[in-house]
């Protein structure tokens, strides 16, 4: 069963769950898994966040619940229409569309929250219902994928077709990997580094599918990384800036975020953060900036974060605290344009 069919099925189940009581003259009730911090637990065995047993009840017989009950039912029905029409919608589109149906949201933050409710109830990411954020990241490499979106369904695309890379939009995110000559996935934080690795043919040299994360990547990108890892058995390397934020981009790709504790299929625990680590900053004498207050505060938060409880991650945090500096991945340019490929990545990937 593909993702779209699974989403259809979940929506049908939810519909039945609402309709059946009504046909018996009863008020329908929906249980929404509780996403409050108190109910987010870290499952050490699976190395990721999950939701605990606590639920929020949306009881349609309760006047205080009727608003959020209706909103959730509407978001589900909107998703159903999207799937049926093979359409996609941005979160913002969904917000505005609600007015066409007389469903009222205070603001987009509220409709975004209800979309997350639907995710929690179904356990599926909003992308499987055709709902996407606006951000983009990109992909490039010797990989053939097969589109599943209408008009393009079954058509294969070679991900070296455009030397600018292809955006990881709805179509690539739902495409199926067919075959590849690549042996690794190399995900990088910045667009500049992504272009550099394409131009220098680092993707050939390392036999890598390149992914541009574009900062903290959208979930479509995290899901695609996992798919390439699982289905093509490719090891995943994450190359970010050498600061608490870059390190955390890597950690979220591996172990997920509290925000998406309610969804499966986003994490790649086996991925490796190859740097820039505090050790790299010293070893390669990289040009640095001082850690500012926000950076130091972030380190404090991360040091208490359950995802960083391993000694390896605590070691990185201590490294940053000791150096009190940070370095971007472009910092390797100080040794010339090819150093990052010829020396740094060669060291790290070998």
């Amino acid at each position: 069963m593909n993702e779209g069919e699974q989403a259809q099925l979940k929506l049908t189940e939810l519909g039945k769950h609402i309709l059946d009581p009504i046909l018996e003259n009863k008020f329908p009730v929906i249980d929404v898994p509780d996403r409050n911090t108190s109910n987010i637990v870290y499952e050490a065995q699976r190395n990721r966040f999950v939701l605990g047993a606590s639920k929020n009840i949306r009881d349609s017989s309760n006047i205080n619940h009727i608003r959020s009950f209706t909103q959730l039912a509407w978001v589900a029905s909107y998703s159903k229409q999207l799937l049926k029409a093979s359409r996609t919608s941005s979160l913002r589109d969904l917000y505005y569309s609600s007015e066409a149906f007389g469903v009222s949201f205070k603001d987009q933050a509220e409709s975004d929250r209800i979309v997350t409710d639907l995710e929690s109830v179904t356990g599926l990411p909003r992308e499987s219902f055709g709902i996407f954020p606006d951000e983009h990241s990109s992909i490039y490499g010797e990989l053939i994928m097969r589109y599943t979106v209408p008009d393009y369904n079954g058509r294969e695309i070679d991900l070296t077709i455009s030397p600018d890379g292809l955006p990881i939009g709805p179509a690539i995110m739902t495409a199926e990997p067919v075959r590849t000559n690549a042996e690794i996935v190399l995900a990088v934080e910045s667009g500049g580094m992504f272009s550099r690795l394409i131009e220098t043919k680092a993707w050939q040299r390392f036999k890598a599918v390149l992914i541009q994360l574009g900062g903290q990547p959208p979930r479509a990108t995290r899901s695609l990384i996992r798919t390439l890892h699982k289905e093509l058995d490719l090891p995943v390397y994450l190359f970010t800036d050498g600061d608490p934020w870059g390190m955390h981009i890597a950690r979220v790709i591996m172990s997920g975020s509290a925000n998406s504790a309610h969804i499966d299929g986003l994490t790649t625990p086996e991925a490796k953060w190859i740097g820039v680590t505090p050790q790299d900053i010293e070893q390669y004498s990289l040009p640095t900036d001082k850690l500012n207050d926000a950076d130091l505060k972030r380190l404090d938060e991360l040091s208490r974060d359950v995802r960083y409880s391993d000694s390896e991650w605590q070691h990185h945090i201590e490294g940053f605290r000791r150096l009190r500096t940070k370095a971007e991945q472009q910092a390797f340019s100080r040794y010339g344009m090819d150093f990052v490929v010829d020396t740094y990545l060669s060291d790290k990937i070998a």
Copy 2:
């Protein structure tokens, strides 16, 4: 002569301009057109900003000038290397690369400024030297372009190849339009609207090449819009949010910005802003938000801006002031997912 050859030629001229005096035992001097507000003039005839006659002198015999003189010479030499190697660099990469050569910049703002000096001296945009920002916007439609970048040189690409669109990166920006079935260029502000127009096949219906601006678009995108307009003789329609910021995105594509007064080849004066205008907000009874203080302040600025001196633009400004509201382009979703294509854009483009 293509853009790369032109850039090469300009750099060679600059090099000679520095070297010749040295060979005669004189100190070289570079004149950099002055980009201060006092020297930016609006050329009504060409409907754009240009620089006036004032110049800043960088005299290598003057100890106060030697730093910026050297920085400019280095940026020129870095650009020469990029062109020679058919490489590209982000502004950030350039900043870091300077350390490899012992050239010192206080921060990236300073190196960015020197890149703009090079643009001013040569009259060419930094993109023609292979220097790009990190932002991306995208393109989709029935248009064949021919790449000019290495490894892809001469290869043609059909811009309907990826249903997510193609990013307007270094490769597409320097590609040549070959042929098209399209009859217009339709540029839209948001990614959500861009996806909607692809999925609903609005691009077929309007025979449009679609461009996603991604907010105030990078110059590569403005340059591509102009190229499609000039070389394929396609009229250009601009569809943005209905607020001062959206309106100004359109105005900058038409008439340029003060920041790029020193560069030719970015403006498309014949482009049309089709909305969302204040009139549209009323006529289509769109859901709106109140204009906030920043919006109102922006309207004041624009009302005094020389690019808005026409009665048509003053009329739009007055419209916003009268309504005191704004509407995003997604606001049409209140009438259902197809309204924006079936009704609004049909009205506007016909």
